[in-house]
């Protein structure tokens, strides 16, 4: 069972017509009979949409499941914060949607850097997800007739997004969490909260367990299993400021990378266009305003540079609605990467607004005039209230100020069609894997992917692996492999604690974030990326000599947790820069300044880069090995993305 054939990664995409691949594949997967399912233990790390839905679904099938989360409750995973909605190809509004169209929009939105088969499967199961969530009692928005309501989102010309006010992620996660708690009640799931995965235990090349830190007591604990599912989310916090929750981190996937799981397209980062701008140095995170706002809000800046007038004093003819001007057919609903980059351009030109000049307006004046303030409040009331809480400004009267912020990472651990990483028995779901979004994720597709992986993909594909391993030796946590991994983990903790330097973890994180944002951010070039690689490596060296971590290991110690995560980010950031340097084209969220048209649009290079770049760890002092998986298009024809 190797992931590479002749040096090329094998995606294990099944043969056949696009429409039949998943069904055919399911027919060919081996099954585990109910009595044998009880003999297997699956370790699920993370309880967001992917983790909670996978754990609940596997327990329902009869597997024994142990679930780990870093928060005090599974319900707090960061999926909870997703606002806008979830896509599905139901075509309830009768506006021409179909599985094919959802598939096609997602492939195109991802700038033709994702696998056709994966994305088609995603579109196929999208409809089941909505049915499943409604059956769980998820209170989606409804029309007066009692049927479900839809809205439109960036990158699509149909209304296919299901939503629950501005809290869709919360409601979907609570649905999955409820299903999970039901299995906790039956005893099929053991819930282990406030546990952070420190490392993976491999035996005979297969994933057989994990070592975790109990965040309440500081104790190191060992868990053995027949398979490990990583559902630990993305790594946007490598930029320090992002819309991710403060505890979201890459340590679980990074540790697995260092154990042999390949990391695919690490530089593919989504910068979300509509976030509340930074107000000062003390800023600890950025808050997203849902993309759905772009349905009714109009994005503009003044036509003149350094225009210090109050926005309401700038007359209509002196405003530049730059997205509507440049992209007349999609207007304010262009995909996220396009909207973000254009906001950056106008700010670079000196036309940015607000105190810092790093913001553009998102104006609801026209929508309020056309539909009335009550209608707008009904659609976006909670978002407007949140904006006012954070900024102290009333968006019904003054245009919102928005600026792009790191939001999602399309890159992640490489997985095949079965969601298996390059380590047998280690599966990766949701944002933690690289699979479905290519170079750019469309709005309302993250929730779809997390739940597709957890509810509908892994319950089928994991069985095939476990059936193959039915007679494998049962491992317990006294195995020497656990001793070794635990020792490495504790040594690392003590080494960090004993540095007792002069700078706090936050100081380092902020410095790393600045390097990443300036050089590996919205717009990248060779010189800056090379500079970033050197700078990160120097900062990392300094970190291990001069970081100051308070307290001890054997207690609750949030700054120690934080320090361990930053140590990993210091390595991941470098890989991201390396990947961005290697990919000499512009595609999706990855914009290389050397590869653009005269009017600043991205230029993709399908001849040389229609592939996934997957990096393989070779050792701390060695450069990683580059592997590729060609992305071939059998059913769609890649075109230069145009939203004009």
């Amino acid at each position: 069972m190797t992931a590479t054939k002749n040096g090329i990664l094998d995606s294990k995409v099944p043969e056949g017509d696009l429409k039949d691949k998943w069904d055919n594949h399911k027919k060919n997967l081996r099954l585990v009979n109910p009595a044998n399912k009880r003999k297997f233990t699956v370790l699920v790390v993370g309880t967001g949409l992917a983790g909670a839905s996978a754990a609940a679904s596997l327990a329902e099938l009869g597997y024994n499941v142990k679930v780990f989360c870093i928060q005090d409750s599974a319900r707090r995973a960061h999926s909870i914060a997703a606002q806008g909605g979830i896509n599905a190809a139901k075509n309830y509004p009768n506006d021409g949607d179909s599985i094919w169209r959802l598939f096609h929009d997602t492939i195109k939105g991802g700038d033709y850097r994702s696998r056709e088969a994966n994305v088609y499967r995603l579109a196929q199961v999208s409809n089941n997800i909505i049915d499943q969530c409604v059956a769980q009692g998820v209170p989606f928005a409804r029309e007066y007739g009692g049927l479900l309501d839809n809205r439109s989102f960036g990158g699509a010309q149909v209304s296919r997004t299901f939503y629950a006010r501005g809290q869709t992620g919360q409601q979907l996660l609570l649905g999955a969490y409820s299903a999970l708690m039901r299995q906790v009640h039956t005893g099929k799931v053991e819930m282990l909260a406030r546990r952070e995965m420190l490392d993976l235990v491999k035996i005979d090349g297969k994933a057989r367990g994990i070592v975790v830190r109990n965040l309440t007591t500081g104790e190191i604990e060992r868990y053995a299993g027949d398979a490990v599912l990583l559902c630990t989310g993305g790594y946007g916090n490598v930029y320090y400021l992002s819309t991710n929750a403060k505890n979201s981190n890459a340590s679980a996937i990074w540790r697995c990378y260092k154990r042999g799981a390949q990391f695919a397209n690490p530089s593919f980062t989504q910068i979300h266009p509509t976030c509340i701008p930074v107000s000062g140095k003390y800023q600890s995170k950025l808050t997203l305003m849902s993309e759905s706002l772009r349905n009714d809000g109009r994005v503009w800046v003044s036509k003149t540079k350094n225009d210090k007038r109050h926005p309401t004093e700038i007359p209509e003819e002196e405003r530049d609605y730059f997205l509507e001007r440049r992209y007349p057919s999609f207007g304010n609903l262009v995909p996220r990467d396009v909207a973000s980059r254009n906001a950056k351009y106008v700010c670079d030109e000196g036309r940015g607004v607000g105190k810092t000049g790093l913001a553009v307006y998102l104006d609801f004046r026209d929508a309020i005039n056309n539909y009335g303030a009550d209608t707008i409040k009904g659609k976006y009331g909670n978002l407007f209230a949140m904006y006012e809480k954070i900024t102290g400004e009333n968006p019904y009267e003054v245009p919102m100020r928005i600026f792009p912020a790191v939001h999602f990472t399309m890159g992640g651990l490489w997985v095949d069609y079965n969601l298996s990483s390059t380590i047998p028995g280690l599966y990766v779901l949701g944002e933690a894997n690289f699979a479905d979004h290519g170079g750019n994720r469309l709005g309302a597709s993250a929730l779809m992917q997390g739940l597709a992986d957890g509810y509908y993909v892994i319950p089928n594909t994991l069985g095939d692996y476990l059936a193959e391993n039915l007679h494998a030796e049962k491992i317990d946590t006294n195995h020497i492999a656990f001793d070794e991994v635990e020792k490495e983990a504790t040594d690392r903790i003590h080494k960090l604690l004993n540095v007792k330097g002069r700078k706090t973890v936050l100081d380092f994180h902020r410095e790393l974030g600045d390097i990443m944002w300036d050089n590996v951010g919205m717009s990248r070039n060779k010189k800056d990326l090379q500079k970033a690689i050197t700078a990160i490596s120097e900062l990392r060296e300094e970190y291990w000599k001069d970081v100051n971590i308070p307290g001890e290991s054997a207690t609750y110690n949030k700054y120690l947790e934080y320090a361990l995560r930053i140590a990993d980010y210091m390595e991941l950031g470098e890989l991201m820069a390396r990947d961005a340097l290697d990919r000499e084209e512009s595609c999706g969220g990855h914009f290389r300044e050397e590869f653009q048209t005269e009017d600043g649009e991205a230029v993709r290079d399908d001849e040389n880069f229609s592939n996934v770049t997957s990096w393989e760890f070779q050792g701390d002092d060695k450069e990683p090995l580059k592997n590729v998986e060609p992305i071939e298009f059998e059913f769609v024809t890649p075109t230069q993305r145009s939203y004009k």
């Binding site: 329902e60 928060q71 005090d72 409750s73 319900r75 707090r76 909870i80 914060a81 139901k90 049915d131 499943q132 409604v134 059956a135 769980q136 009692g137 209170p139 928005a141 409804r142 007066y144 007739g145 009692g146 049927l147 479900l148 629950a164 919360q170 409601q171 969490y177 299903a179 708690m181 039901r182 906790v184 009640h185 909260a193 309440t216 929750a245 403060k246 107000s279 000062g280 003390y282 800023q283 600890s284 995170k285 808050t287 997203l288 105190k355 209230a385 949140m386 809480k389 954070i390 900024t391 102290g392 400004e393 509810y455 706090t504 936050l506 308070p550 207690t555 609750y556 110690n557 949030k558």
Partner: protein, 253 residues
């Protein structure tokens, strides 16, 4: 936006572990920016403490946008502080005046033991949910989502209750440390949806009984919970839960 830097006096609960006794410790911050969030001020204070070689203050937080329900501070006796409908992570210092003193404490309830400083153990909420806070449907292929219309009034009301973020402020604010608002919100959400109907009676009995077993008190209609709830859940949730409970008991043999 204001550039006026403020001085804020803090009295913060410090407690080493669940077994030891704690106390309020005084700190003064003389560089508080009004645009800072309350938690950013604590970050700032912790940076200073660590630079001085002192122990930082432990507090729970995660999303910092009012939805994950991790943060749990009582400010001057009010759960989540003075701003209505706002979790403390979204409270900004512009709500305070230069020279103000703020007492910062964790949730206090028998069912929420303190882990360290301002961090508490809220697993009891998960156990109430595990007792019955769900619709028992396995993952599979249920009927089409539009096969069962739900009237908009009930769907909207169900959402109002479903908006609970599970933070526990209701318990912290209640003189009886009752979890009735939390439990009532889930019971009422599912009672208003046809999907919740088959298990309606069983659910309310199991969840309410579990709540009592976990050491939460009963509701005496103080309505303090509603006053502090960051998701603005109405106490009609409690009235609905009681009605559901009484009906269920009278009908379940």
């Amino acid at each position: 936006m204001s550039d006026q830097i403020m001085t804020i006096h803090l009295k913060i609960w410090k407690q080493n572990d669940p077994g030891s006794s704690g106390k309020l410790v005084d700190y003064t911050m003389d560089d508080v920016n009004p645009d800072m969030s309350f938690l950013e001020m604590l970050d700032w204070l912790n940076e200073r403490l660590m630079n001085e070689g002192k122990e930082p203050i432990e507090f729970d937080h995660d999303c910092r946008e009012g939805i994950c329900g991790s943060c749990n501070l009582v400010l001057n006796g009010m759960a989540h502080g003075p701003e209505p409908g706002t979790a403390v992570c979204q409270l900004h210092m512009r709500k305070y005046k230069d020279g103000d003193t703020i007492v910062v404490e964790p949730w206090r309830a028998k069912a929420f033991p303190i882990i360290k400083d301002l961090v508490v153990d809220r697993y009891a909420f998960d156990r109430i949910m595990a007792a019955g806070g769900y619709v028992s449907v396995n993952t599979g292929a249920p009927a089409d989502a539009n096969a069962l219309p739900v009237n908009k009034y009930d769907a909207d009301l169900a959402f109002d209750y479903a908006a609970c973020i599970g933070c526990g402020a209701c318990v912290a604010a209640c003189p009886n440390s009752s979890a009735s608002l939390f439990t009532g919100a889930k019971v009422s959400q599912l009672a208003h949806l046809p999907q919740g109907t088959p298990e309606r009676k069983r659910r309310v009995v199991k969840m309410v009984d579990k709540m009592a077993e976990e050491g939460f008190g009963d509701c005496s209609n103080y309505a303090e919970c509603e006053a502090v709830c960051p998701a603005e859940i109405s106490i009609t949730a409690i009235a609905e839960m009681r009605r559901e409970y009484a009906k269920a008991l009278s009908e379940i043999v």
